[in-house]
Amino acid sequence: MGVRTWIGSWPVYRQFTGDDPLGRGAAAKSAGSERIKARVSTADKVVKSVCPYCAVGCGQDVYVQDGKVTQIEGDPDSPVSRGRLCPKGSASLQLTTGSAREYRVLYRRPHGTEWEPLDLDTAMDMIADRVIEARRQGWQQEEDGVRVRRTLGLASLGGATLDNEENYLIKKLFTALGAVQIENQARI
């Protein structure tokens, strides 16, 4: 490295001689920081998404590399949010990929003191059986002599954090089952 190069790599020199007099941009970069690449720059793809927290609906860009989500940032194209995310939206990467997420079905038997493992297919089958039974147990064909054709044996709560398509299937299936105690956060 020649002297001129050495001096030229000194941030203060560049701050006074270059076009970055405040030293907040190019002048502040070192050879080391030049080599650092944003993790989004090597992403295989960018998937368009929407922040899952509040109802403002900020746009998100989801960066994917090697089949994994590597970063989530605000979408500058969004006329709602113009690229901004709040602290919660900015923590979406931890929400989606953090170590606190569970990936296995867990089962607590009646009066049990601990969780037990249970495979997904078995769990689905057991839940279906329980729905059928609770539905029958709580079935009302009539109340006070008037036809109601419903069950009060089971209930559901949730939907405000879910997709419209999911809410549609929840309401459709439970209505066909005759379940009326179907609610979500909008009540609360």
């Binding site: 929407v50 109802a55 997420r101 569970e102 990936y103 009646p110 839940i127 008037v146 089971l154 949730g158």
Partner: protein
Amino acid sequence: MAECHPVGFQWVMEAKARGAKLVHVDPRFTRTSAVADAHVPLRAGSDIAFLGGIVNYVLQNEKYFRDYVVAYTNAPMILSEDFRDTEDLDGVFSGFDPEKRVYDHTTWRYAGMNVQSAAGERDMQWDERAPAVSEAGRGEAHGSGGAAIGEGTPERDLTLEHPRCVFQVLKRHYSRYTPEMVERICGVSQDRFREVCELIAENSGPDRTTAFAYAVGWTQHTVGVQYIRTAAILQSLLGNIGRPGGGILALRGHASIQGSTDIPTLFNLLPGYIPMPHAHTNENLDAFVQAESAEKGFWGNMRSYIVSLLKAYWGDAATQDNDFCFDYLPRLTGSHSTYETVMAQINGLCKGYFLMGENPAVGSANAKLQRLGMANLDWLVVRDFSLIESATWWKDGPEIETGEMRTEDIGTEVFFMPAATHTEKDGSFTNTQRMLQWHHQAVEPAGEARSELWFMYHLGRIIREKLAASTEEMDRPLLDLAWDYPTQGRLDEPDAEAVLAEINGRDADGNPLSSYTQLKDDGSTSCGCWIYCGCYADGVNQPARRKPGSEQSWVAPEWGWAWPMNRRVLYNRASADPDGNPWSERKALVWWDADKGKWTGHDVPDFVADRPPDYQPPDDATGPDALAGDDPFIMQADGKAWLYVPAGLTDGPLPAHYEPQESPFTNALYGQQRNPVRHLLPPHPDDRFAPSDGAPGADVFPFVATTYRLTEHHTAGGMSRWQPYLAELQPEFFCEVSPELAAERDLEHGGWATIVSPRNVVEARVLVTDRMAPLTVDGLTLHQVGLPYHWGPNGYSRGDAANELLHLALDPNTHIQEAKALAVDIRPGRRPRGRDAAALVREYRERAGITADTGTEL
């Protein structure tokens, strides 16, 4: 707004940079207050007095937008001679039945209208079932338009002078909501109050508009709907509805809470705000439509909407001959809201419970009751990302610690099912401005995590397979259900876009519809949610449209899709004058193009596209055909904005100030202390109320507590307390108190406080701050305690749940709990542990003389 919807707040700051004035009315000082032109702290629970005071100012000082009011509101309508106001009856309206605690709406109608329909009985007027229908959250079934008002033509006085016209009734109703009264009830000085009145009035009219933004805390009162109604009256008087920069904007708190109301996972609604049918003798589709549709406006086409929905649900099985399977719909006989469901669990009626992305063990009012309900179930399915409190209460919930429950005694079988995140599935959210936006799957969910779309589809598939051989009548709706969705990939994930296409609807040939005006009542169209019809127009996923905001107009119509028909400002016909011209160039949005013979403008006109402004319908016209060219409010049964609500609300045609369920003050305006028809659940030993002012023991709970959110957490914390960044920013539960209250109660900044209500006790770190200023209310100093409600015992950021303190007195229209104003005591130090915790609450109840009847009086 800066606190809870910070990115949306950037637009408020843009407006401020362009000269807008920002007023923040809130008991606490927040990041919004910090940048507002005025912060007005008021007593939690007194908003109707405050807003009613502004209405009174506008009327007394003739600040209303007269041309708009005469043409576009129901101000000229003349009321029935039988109507009596709260001014006449000391706080109740005519039609009140103190025994059943319900209103008969008959006297609230317009003069000249028949309430009893010629060819059938309307639900709202059924004497026999009125309490049950009223209980069923019926007031909420108007999310996309007003209630039916009967048949006939309302009498009007366009001079607004008739003593029984809505305008004069309104004027009398609010005449005692003076600045002095506002000061006395709300604790806002008269000068400060007048300043707010002047700011709003000056900023409204042809050239200017004022917007109200409320977080849904407004809904969380025993008079929640009437809070918003008061704002609606004010905004209608000022001409601020249907115009750019105007409106009443609900800042909702979940990504698709609007969507889950439009396509409701709610007991009282079907998609598109069609009410769930109520049980009646001989009720068929015709009787239902007769009872629920309106004579005029787009609710007049309700038969098309419900027939198309039934076709989407039951496909080929739904035919003209079988009433399109209308009988397959289960019937209501009263309320089945989440709070009644909890009671049904405690009583052993409800045995199975699904929780999907919701955490009632800490997130719902009176969290202990929620856990008691879950502890009495046969089985519980929890679908979430992490082990939230609703999944683990049986091993580590508060009642295990206090000894009130033992894990070994709890018979509930619990399934925890890991859920997929938004990045792991396709689907749409509907944001708080009714806009659908599609999120694309980025990666498949790992392990056994699955979407709710997967879970519901496969659960339905398995149940249908198990019951396939059934010949029982009760299984027909299930077996006839149209439940064939294409699946894809390794996980057999249902195609979310196929579900969106079903929601959008199809014509007889299976082609996507583009508008709800195409829906038919003969079974030739299907549509899963009529207000969403058009979201898949031309077979294009409209919510997935993402033309950059910088490349289109300020309305940005090509980003996402807003219901209905991609209209971004509802009722925007009102942005033009009766002749169809913008009220001013500055506030132009849509207008009549006489040359082309159609409405045009920046937004999609929310009106019949080719109906001229001077159009007058023939007398026998019905439905949309009955709308005149100057009836902008096309979902309303009279085409007008309602200053006065002649039908559809359970607790009165005009908002009146009532004290909260628990209040340290006597109602200064009426002899009637509380909302007389507030919805109270059956008494439960863990859901007692504090005595209010004037009753012995009221001084045991002398402070008003209010709950709220922080920027760094999300609702009950299920999506934020497990995130290290957010946990570091807000590590634990705290309460906010003023230096004066801290001195009075020996509370130390950074130390601990114990907060007690008649329901439960919690502990919190103390934040002593001027942000929670004491107020002078009715001549007395009132301290308020601020409680962010994000916490529970699990996750990285932990603490007691503020919702432990809440009671179950609900708004009668919506059955939403009164979370925003309750009575508490606060004392220094940590709460007792073990059995001593329950003993402390008992001691408080005894000292206050609380019984099962306390607070349940009219």
